[in-house]
Symmetry: C2
Subunit: 189 residues, 2 copies
């Protein structure tokens, strides 16, 4: 009891994703996830509040990576360049874990409640990026506009990537989407 289990969190995440794909999210219990991971329920609850949070535990990491990239963008970077740097960081992270990301996405796509949770996490991410831009001295509405259109670019590039047969890399799709947004808005009359 309480002894250290090597990579318990990662094992629980993997076991949960496997079960959600095999049996469906609603049909899977915490007991089954723990058993599949070779761990106890008690260990599960040391890492996650409930079975839903297994799917969203990575959101904090993503947000830290992206706000860190905004903060670290070299000083002459414009707001959109700082957001572009954050998108590259996020793209590289997802690309590295493509299989797990695709599996997670298939679980979320099958469950409206999880889709709502995903929307909330994306809105939170947008607010955090805007705040990171304001800490760089960017004022509103520019900070919010750059952050929220950045999240729109992320979502759309992500959807292209998961629909793709695997040829395009996500960081390249992010860059292409951002350039497309520039082209689109430049046509404003």
């Amino acid at each position: 009891m309480g002894r250290w289990e090597p990579n318990a969190r990662g094992r629980l995440e993997q076991a949960a994703l496997e079960l959600y794909v095999e049996r469906g999210y609603a049909q899977t219990t915490v007991a089954e996830i723990a058993a599949r991971a070779g761990l106890t329920e008690r260990t599960f609850f040391r890492h996650f509040a409930d079975k839903r949070e297994v799917l969203f535990g990575g959101a904090g990491t993503l947000q830290e990576l992206m706000t860190g990239a905004v903060a670290d963008a070299p000083e002459p970077a414009s707001p959109i360049d700082a957001v572009a740097a954050a998108l590259q960081t996020a793209g590289a992270m997802f690309q590295e874990r493509r299989e797990a990301v695709l599996r997670r996405q298939s679980v979320i796509a099958a469950n409206p409640e999880l889709q709502e949770r995903e929307l909330i996490k994306l809105a939170t991410l947008g607010s955090a990026l805007a705040e990171a831009l304001r800490r760089r001295g960017v004022t509103d509405p520019a900070a919010s506009l750059a952050a929220e259109s950045g999240v729109a670019v992320l979502r759309i590039a992500f959807e292209q990537w998961i629909g793709d047969t695997g040829q395009a890399e996500l960081p390249q799709l992010m860059r292409a989407s951002l350039e497309e947004l520039r082209a689109l808005t430049s046509a404003l009359r």
Copy 2:
């Protein structure tokens, strides 16, 4: 029973907003809303599924207005110009009902569950605008990018407008936000 009540829907909406502001959303019952409007609960449920839907009944109208504006934008209009037309339509609608819109917003801001519902409605609006652009022959990802960045512009201009003392008109704020987005993205290196 079943007799026609003049403008029952509008009276119920107004009564609900008044009570939500006075007593709080959670503390208000459908019976109280109906009584305040001088109508029966039965009439309430002919118009709304529950007390939450009183706040979101306008989302369908907004979506129709905006997708209609995209569809009706004169043929040489670029995707972003079609979105700009939709934003003008939405801005004019909100501006016209400023008092009720502000009241509704204060109720939503006080309740996380309602904020989540609002996020879902905005995501649905983004999808509908993207679909309206595709019907104009705009391909993805351009259709989704123009639609979703348009929704970001709407949200941000809306927040400026409700935070404003009432001097700036929403359609002008929408236009200024869209131009700011163009300026921001044009700085992409």
